[in-house]
């Protein structure tokens, strides 16, 4: 009796194992079948996990014959992984969507300086690390979405005004876990000094219509729903909503408009997507080629068109639908100047109760 049961159990387990092995073999085959004829490879650790980046990598492979192997993940997990892999890390290129993460990879000594005329030509000086450890290839502005029926554009044309008593209980904003908020506050500390930045953050907390929740899109929708009158958001979320497949979202952007507040009269805060060559890159030359490819005018336009970020270079024309918003003044503060201020920013926000 017990024997029979045991046999049944074992038989089942064997079957399951066989299926698993088969499935494994299939998936292996599928992966290999995807590989085009290649002459080399480059290992990409990317915290940008946008579908629209995949065709870029495919084009790179077809143009150069270099296969792109990807691991996508949270920037800091990728950094931890590169540290754990040590000298034998296969990482060639590290790519992420926030200057702060690039700075952390740099301070962990995971990136190497490179010189490349193509990169220096394609990327403005303010958007790269002075010694060539990382280069930005697209920009996103952290700006304001406002309810056009209640707010006029001149009421939100500076960052100070967002924190002013005009908007007590009328502001929606994400938590201080958002790297984009951290980078913004880092930039404010850089521009104003800590005291004024803290005063500003205090004003933001006083203005919150609700405890921080959700992502940037949720803030924009909340403005439309009347929860608040203004919201801090990244530019591309709004542009994506205004031009996306979702009809309700498109409708939201008829009432909710975008304003570009100015910092010290010099323009809006911009953050970057960028990448750097890994310290122990086994395919160093290929990594540089891929980074040059990502920073090329064509790629900047591709990223702008499909992910609605702004091109990094002022010489690259923004494609539709981004072009309608591209005519704004960006603050010239170099990205490496605010990138390292995230820990300060976090402490400051914690002090004033910005959750």
């Amino acid at each position: 009796m017990a024997q029979a049961k045991e046999d049944v159990l074992l038989a089942k387990m064997m079957k399951v194992a066989a299926v698993a092995l088969l499935a494994g073999a299939c998936s292996q085959g599928a992966d290999n079948a995807d590989a085009p004829a290649v002459t080399g490879e480059v290992n990409l650790y990317s915290a940008r996990h946008y579908d629209s980046d995949l065709p870029l990598y495919e084009r790179f492979t077809s143009e150069t014959g270099i296969r792109v192997n990807r691991i996508e993940g949270n920037a800091d997990e990728l950094i931890a992984r590169m540290r754990a892999e040590g000298e034998r890390s296969p990482a060639d290129l590290f790519v992420t969507a926030d200057a702060g993460a690039l700075w952390r990879a740099q301070t962990a000594d995971l990136l190497q300086p490179i010189t490349s005329e193509a990169l220096e030509a394609a990327v403005p000086e303010a958007l790269r690390e002075p010694e060539g450890r990382w280069f930005g290839f697209s920009r996103r502005a952290r700006i304001v979405a406002y309810d056009s029926t209640k707010v006029t554009p001149d009421e939100v044309d500076t960052y100070e005004k967002i924190a002013s008593p005009r908007f007590r209980g009328k502001l929606c904003v994400r938590s201080s876990d958002s790297v984009y908020n951290l980078s913004l506050v880092g930039a404010l500390i850089e521009a104003w000094g800590e005291e004024k930045a803290e005063e500003w953050a205090r004003g933001v907390v006083a203005n919150m219509a609700r405890a921080p929740e959700g992502g940037d899109r949720d803030q924009i929708r909340a403005v439309n729903a009347g929860v608040c009158e203004i919201a801090l958001t990244n530019s591309y979320y709004y542009i994506r909503m205004a031009n996306g497949e979702n009809e309700a979202d498109r409708k939201v952007t008829e009432k909710v408009k975008l304003a570009f507040p100015s910092l010290e009269g010099q323009g809006a805060h911009v953050n970057i997507s960028g990448g750097g060559v890994a310290r122990n890159a086994p395919n160093r030359e290929n990594a540089i080629r891929l980074l040059e490819f990502l920073a090329s005018a064509e790629s900047q336009q591709h990223i702008s068109r499909h992910n609605n970020e702004f091109p990094a270079s002022p010489d690259v024309e923004a494609p539709a639908p981004v072009d309608a918003f591209a005519d704004f003044e960006a603050h010239p503060m170099p990205a490496y100047r605010f990138a390292g201020r995230q820990p300060e920013a976090q402490q400051l926000m914690s002090r004033v109760g910005w959750r």
Binding site: A2, E77, A80, P90, A225
Partner: protein, 532 residues
């Protein structure tokens, strides 16, 4: 009570050997990442985070765990009691259907509920504009999060309690009835106390899943210890700080496990010698039957139908990239099956080899389950680092997959060990002694007596691990090899990018893949009868 305090140690001393060796090996495997966490905690300067914040995170974690524990204990127990002890319309269906929410990842529930009940969502906007009224609750609060996670995790309690109620001796319950207990009294004075170990095991699983939840909790705007860990790790770049934040959590988990074991020890309540026979289940009629049906239907709707339906509704506008999703689906399935087999095998060795011991190793091995996903990732990097440095980084596909399977075993060991140990308590020492005195060795006894009796428990353990791996995120995110995405990874990426409709498809595929497994195994379990 059977356990003889004199005879057992004598037997145990003679049986030091293979089983024990394998058990200890399994424990070491499971515990290595935790040692990694300890090592990381000592490794360098911590993060300069405000104590006030850390206290707030800890309080939120504690409240959330408490609320989920209470809600899952109440709902899971009631559901199990109703479906085992009474007959009502649809009882047969609910018996297995109530397990189905196990197929839905907690993060998918979070996406669905946060979206459905968002202030600016279609539902609330419609209610406000058309009826001038708003719902009195929010999902992105501690209450909302407790609701969402309870929907996800109540089946753990339901499964454990169902097995316990089915195994209970009918004669004990009938005796209670004959002695004048009302059905309610039978429950509170006999059945429930007898099932207490199972309740502790089920709730322990639910609470551990809550503490370890990755993705769902931040999505619901709760800042728990995991938030602190992530902040220490990312903003302050301090893995040491992250690991230190995890230490109190590990200690709490250890204390919980210890209390649970202590309560259980020396109280094996199995009806000795009483042959199992089906209980005469009274039929519920009228309002009582309607209430029972409504309750079961509510659990099923809240845990599966409503969230999956809402995700599907939102995703219908999107045409997903099927080849990529299907490839990820194959990856998920392969990992889940292989990981479940490995974990159950290790958990069985652990349960058999350290059985009856207050072995530190055994307890330590279960802690991985309660460790926040982000912390476990820190810990897993320690053994991973050694392998990577030895075998040349992550370029090696086999090493990558091996590491992942290892990570799953380490993270999910408790999910398999809990039911297997509970199942093994049904093997009385006399059964083992009989086998041994008839000349069977230790291994033979394990395979011929103990494991067949605990067969249902092995399946339960395998099921839970299989489902958990399909839904697993943190280890997969950080350890997977190149060009290797699972469905959970894709769903998470879309959600981080605030593309919820796109996140719906991979989430639903996980549900679709987990459902047959849940169905098959839950029917096995429903059909299994001790002694039958």
């Amino acid at each position: 009570m059977i356990a003889s305090p004199v005879a057992e140690p004598a037997l145990r001393r003679r049986s030091l050997s293979w089983l024990k060796g394998l058990g200890i090996a399994a424990a070491v495997v499971a515990a290595a990442p935790l040692l990694g966490v300890l090592a990381a905690a000592l490794s360098g300067p911590g993060a300069e985070m405000a104590g006030r914040d850390i206290a707030r995170y800890a309080a939120t974690s504690a409240w959330l765990a408490l609320l989920v524990g209470l809600v899952t204990a109440a709902t899971g127990t009631l559901a199990a009691w109703l479906t085992v002890m009474y007959r009502f319309p649809g009882r047969r269906f609910f018996t297995w259907a109530l397990v189905l929410p196990l197929a839905v990842p907690a993060f998918a529930l979070a996406y669905a509920y946060a979206d459905l009940f968002d202030v600016a969502g279609a539902l609330r906007t419609g209610l406000r504009t058309n009826y001038g009224f708003d719902l009195p609750f929010e999902m992105r609060t501690i209450g909302g999060a407790a609701f969402v996670l309870s929907c996800a995790f109540y089946p753990y309690v339901y499964l454990a309690m169902r097995t316990a109620f089915i195994s209970q001796s009918a004669s004990a319950l009938e005796a209670a009835r004959m002695l004048g207990c009302s059905p309610g009294k039978v429950f509170f004075r006999v059945a429930f106390p007898l099932a207490r170990p199972a309740l502790a095991a089920g709730v322990a699983l639910a609470v551990m899943e809550t503490l370890a939840a990755y993705g769902a909790v931040p999505f619901l705007a709760l800042q728990t210890l995991t938030t602190g860990v992530v902040r220490a790790w990312s903003v302050f770049g301090s893995t040491a700080g992250a690991a230190r934040l995890a230490l109190p959590l590990l200690a709490a988990a250890a204390v919980l496990l210890w209390i649970e074991r202590r309560g259980r020890s020396g109280r094996s309540h199995d009806g000795r010698g009483s042959a199992w026979r089906p209980l005469a289940a009274p039929r519920l009629t009228g309002a009582r039957a309607a209430l029972a049906v409504a309750f079961c239907l509510f659990l099923l709707t809240a845990g599966l139908l409503l969230p999956a339906g809402w995700l599907l509704w939102g995703s219908l506008d999107i045409t997903p990239e099927w080849p990529r999703l299907l490839r990820a689906a194959r990856h998920s399935l392969t990992l889940a099956v292989a990981g479940a087999l490995l974990t159950v095998a290790l958990a069985t060795f652990l349960a058999l080899g350290t059985r009856g011991e207050r072995s530190l190793a055994g307890r330590f091995a279960s802690l991985g389950y309660a460790t926040p996903g982000a912390v476990m990732a820190v810990g897993l990097l320690a053994p991973a680092s050694i392998l990577w440095q030895l075998f040349g980084g992550t370029g090696n596909f086999a090493i990558g997959i091996g590491l992942l399977l290892y990570a799953y075993a380490a993270r999910l060991m408790a999910a398999a060990v809990e039911p297997i140990e509970a199942g093994l308590t049904r093997v009385t020492p006399t059964m083992v002694w009989a086998s041994r005195s008839l000349g069977a060795g230790e291994m033979r006894t394990a395979f011929k007596v103990q494991l067949p009796v605990a067969r249902g428990a092995l399946l339960t353990g395998g099921l839970i691990v299989f489902i958990d791996i399909l839904k697993e995120l943190p280890a997969t995110l950080i350890l997977r090899p190149f060009n290797f995405d699972t469905l959970a990874v894709i769903a998470n990426n879309y959600a981080l990018d605030e593309r919820l409709p796109q996140a719906g498809w991979p989430s639903l595929l996980i549900v679709a893949m987990a459902l047959p497994g849940v169905l098959w195994l839950s029917r096995e379990i429903a059909a299994s009868r001790p002694g039958a």
